[in-house]
């Protein structure tokens, strides 16, 4: 998918008028319920509430997500079996999204009765109350005359029998998954009070082959692993990608000419340019939040420093000048500061400086080494790799306080933030064979899970919510 396509996405359209007639009589088949699931029958039996930064009771809410309905089951390029089957697929994605972030325990469409189209705006309350559902997600798919699809999404409070929020989106058939992510974001945001994040993408490095002949390819995927696409062939090693904030470009390292160099790859034109014309090796690319600058690290005579260059072209500015290794860097959300790593003190530690390189000061003082800092999009936390025996993902405040280690494995590295600053992805390397995989963890460290990728995966870079 390219940027031109994205602009076709019609954005958010509030559906003020729903075309279905009100239906007072419930479909009798819905009242004839199959056996309810145990987890829905008795939410208390699932053990204690897991600790969370969102330490509220809504985490254990029973959320029912039945299949989305359709006004008429018609063919669509989005699903070989038509809009009715597409409605089921969309609800499955919403269910998977909400389940996989670990904060909800939703029940999905495959365990629930299927509402009719008119019931989307007029839920069969007794059915859902009978299932102990506290929240109900409804939705529909409607094929439009122009070939696009309208997807509606509704969140209801079952106990109060009222609607909490609704939105609708018009999407091209090949972008139908985005509607599912938008609906997931709507529900997540309404229930948690947090900003959305599902409708976003991830760039990463796909790894295949044995440790001594590893093939590393640049690849991209949706936040849930769908729409996977390889960008490079694997002929030359690719490393450390970063999406531009508008998703039009990816900065990454390639050994294409035999040397490690940063290239800016344009997703639409599939062409790439060097970040800077230099014979020196360049690595560790990072975008500024406004997409106008790239930070990169360059080694001259073995000494690595951090530079900033305008994406549109122009002179590079050197930001660090110590004899140590100064590398990486991540802008604060307002673009005024940069957090980076340096071994000027004798070991890898984390430092903060102004965006022009002034006022460099160390912020990590808790023993061990610390590298790969990434500033949260919310600005309140810095995620990094803590090296103290094992390599683990940790967070601290931008002042270097309240350090908390979130993971426990042998080698976790390279955190990247969800657009809402509430979830961190990273990659894990297995001892011995060196197999890599992408994982994500929330800020409690409690909810950790592996992302499904077609092959081994490292160097994840989570982009912002899609425009």
């Amino acid at each position: 998918m390219n940027m031109r396509n994205l602009s076709v996405f019609a954005g958010v359209m509030m559906l003020l008028a729903f075309p279905a007639q009100a239906q007072d009589q419930l479909d009798p088949s819905l009242l004839d319920l199959p056996a309810v699931e145990a987890e829905f029958e008795d939410p208390e039996s699932e053990g204690p509430l897991r600790g969370s930064v969102f330490a509220d009771s809504w985490q254990d809410l029973g959320i029912a997500i039945p299949a989305f309905a359709t006004n008429a089951d018609v063919p669509t390029p989005a699903n070989a079996q038509g809009t009715r089957a597409l409605g089921l697929e969309i609800s499955r994605i919403v269910h998977n999204n909400l389940r996989n972030n670990g904060l909800f325990r939703p029940v999905g469409p495959d365990a629930l009765p299927r509402p009719d189209y008119p019931q989307i705006t007029d839920p069969a309350w007794p059915v859902w109350q009978g299932r102990s559902a506290e929240m109900l997600v409804h939705g529909y798919v409607r094929a439009r005359d122009d070939g696009r699809l309208t997807v509606g999404c509704y969140l209801y409070d079952v106990a109060l029998r009222n609607e909490l929020v609704r939105e609708g989106w018009v999407v091209r058939p090949d972008e139908w998954r985005r509607a599912a992510h938008k609906c997931s974001d709507l529900v997540y945001s309404r229930l948690s009070g947090e900003s959305p994040f599902f409708d976003s993408r991830i760039a990463y490095i796909a790894e295949t082959g044995p440790k001594d002949a590893r093939i590393k390819r640049l690849a991209i995927m949706d936040s849930d692993g769908a729409n996977h696409r390889f960008i490079t062939s694997g002929r030359s090693t690719a490393l450390t990608p970063r999406y531009s904030p508008d998703y039009s470009q990816i900065a990454y390292l390639s050994y294409e000419d035999g040397n490690p160099r940063i290239y800016i790859y344009d997703i639409e034109t599939r062409r790439q340019t060097l970040v800077t014309e230099s014979t020196n090796p360049t690595f560790a690319p990072r975008w500024s939040p406004d997409g106008r600058f790239i930070l990169y690290s360059m080694a001259i005579g073995g000494n690595t420093d951090i530079y900033r260059v305008p994406v549109a072209g122009g002179r590079s500015i050197r930001l660090t000048d110590t004899p140590g290794i100064d590398v990486g860097g991540s802008f604060s959300p307002d673009g005024s500061k940069i957090v980076f790593e340096s071994d000027r003190s004798g070991s890898q530690q984390i430092y903060v400086m102004d965006a022009d390189g002034q006022n460099q000061r160390r912020i990590s003082f808790f023993g061990g080494r610390a590298g790969t800092p990434e500033w949260s999009p919310r600005g309140d936390q810095i995620a990094f790799t803590r090296i103290a025996g094992d390599f683990n993902i940790a967070v601290m405040t931008p002042q270097g306080r309240n350090m908390r280690v979130l993971t426990k494995a042998w080698h976790d590295e390279a955190p990247t933030w969800a657009p809402n600053g509430r979830i961190i992805q990273f990659f894990r390397t297995a001892r011995g064979g060196g197999e890599t995989s992408i994982w994500q963890v929330d800020l409690t460290g409690e909810n950790e899970r592996r992302l499904r990728t077609p092959v081994g995966a490292s160097d994840p870079a989570w982009g912002p919510v899609l425009p």
Partner: protein
Amino acid sequence: MKNIVVALTLTSALALSACQKKAPEVIPQAPQNVAPAPTPTPTPTPVSRVAQPGSQAHFSAEMSGADTIFFDTDKFDIDSEDAAALRRQAQYMLTYATSRATVEGHADERGTRDYNLALGERRANAAKNYLVSLGVAESRLRTVSYGEERPASMGSNEAAWAQNRRAVTVMME
């Protein structure tokens, strides 16, 4: 040929892995009083007889392991053992005066990726600078860092990591 290089590397690494090195404060200066490299009298081996002088095959056979030097964790200083190996490399390059070489810097897997790239660059440059100090023209040497991307030893243990923290000199052909 690559297999031979790896095998030689492993042998010498095993001998070195127990040695503890001290951290320098800054990039070590090239030694000031280095005797000019004597013109070597090549002692042909079966391999070097078939390999073209100045080729990687010839160089690797002549060095028998001295094409690689090893480093401690996060370090890049040249100790006496490294210096001896680099002297042999320099002698070779002074003997075969048209030869050109790439010094490859490597790191072990127990580092973060970007830092390892920078570290490999540091190690390659430490070796290169030493060769230059011995009289090899800088224009004949190139460096490249592979970070942790090209391990020589596949294990996840101290012995393997010690073999992977290295700078390898490879003839350009």
